[in-house]
Symmetry: C2
Amino acid sequence: MTITENIHVAIVEDDPEIRQTLALIIDGTPGFWCKHTFESVELAIRQLPELPIQVVLMDVELPGVSGIMGVKKLKPLMPETDFIMLTIRQDDETVFNSICAGATGYLVKDTPPSELLESIKEVRKGGAPMSANIARQVILSFHQTTPSPLSDRETEILKLLSQGMNYRSVAEKIYLSPHTVKTHIKNIYQKLHVNSRAEAIKKAIKDKLI
Amino acid sequence: MTITENIHVAIVEDDPEIRQTLALIIDGTPGFWCKHTFESVELAIRQLPELPIQVVLMDVELPGVSGIMGVKKLKPLMPETDFIMLTIRQDDETVFNSICAGATGYLVKDTPPSELLESIKEVRKGGAPMSANIARQVILSFHQTTPSPLSDRETEILKLLSQGMNYRSVAEKIYLSPHTVKTHIKNIYQKLHVNSRAEAIKKAIKDKLI
DNA sequence: GGAATTTTACCCCATATGGGCGATTTACGG
DNA sequence: CCGTAAATCGCCCATATGGGGTAAAATTCC
């Protein structure tokens, strides 16, 4: 442990040119080390977990095993290491699959070197660097997209159902007849276009109704 | 529409000193306008929706109606407007309630003026400015925290259940006896500490098991 | 002030569900 | 080589669920 601690970075990227350029930029910057690069997830899995690497730059669209699968496999083996995805893809599926797989950063490939280095520092400081529109995608995923088709009463009942209550319990809880509760539930199913409790709850959670 | 388009910013903040300081900083910077400030959500709701405001800085801990409720009420009335929360609170509940309410940015109050202005520009450009550790909190919320207690088979069955299938349908789908399916489901319930389909699905989604 | 929505309430009935109990086979690790 | 976990199949039974009706207050909205 020296006074000026370098950040140890590794790269997983199949394109030799990009890989070497990135490595040169990073390794050539004071405060950063980049002595290990891999051209595939398969190779990275063999060696990376043994190395004292703090930040991994991971390409998403790799031939063979994808970068997403790479993070999924590697992150549990080195939980202290931060993975930043580096990609041209910005579709929702790729973004959220990457994040769910364990990535803590997500940068588009045209990120200028200065920002890339800044992002590496930021992730080490406990941040989660993302390109602007990626961050927006992530935030938007929390927003309620469609207005709830359910009435307040129905929403209330659906919440209780999701806690495992049956007609009777719900009825007692909100001082109604079990018959009435049943009617509400039937209406809920109609409005959500489902015909079972399971589907209703899944849809309600997905659409952030409860 | 002039060549140099100013960003119109409004502030909702109860502390007069902070409110005025922020307004002065923003309005005093080229490219920014801040002609409207409010000391409460109640007052903002009356006037803000009529104003051509692009970015609202919203304090979270306001007396009376909270900033979170403020966003929830105001955002639907002005969907094109971006709301940035400005607060000292960083607990998960406050952060996620704010974002779910419709905020697109979340900055801690000690953010230096230059970064605040940068964030306002960024949110206008389609980003989602967040203080570093807030961004990390958001990203972490996507990560699988606990290892799944369910076997592959059980996970597969639970997914089918969440699609509204019953014993028989699941059994046919994966070429098993309905009895076996039932046994698996019983085991799933045990492992998840629940005793109904509804609870199981809720917990599975919450814990990202399916 | 009237229409629409929400909330309340009840009936019948076929089927699904969940709990309890037992059993065999396969696969993997100590 | 043995033990454990997972996956497979089965039976009994009380209760819950979902679909089909019908209908009348209460509330909200225009």
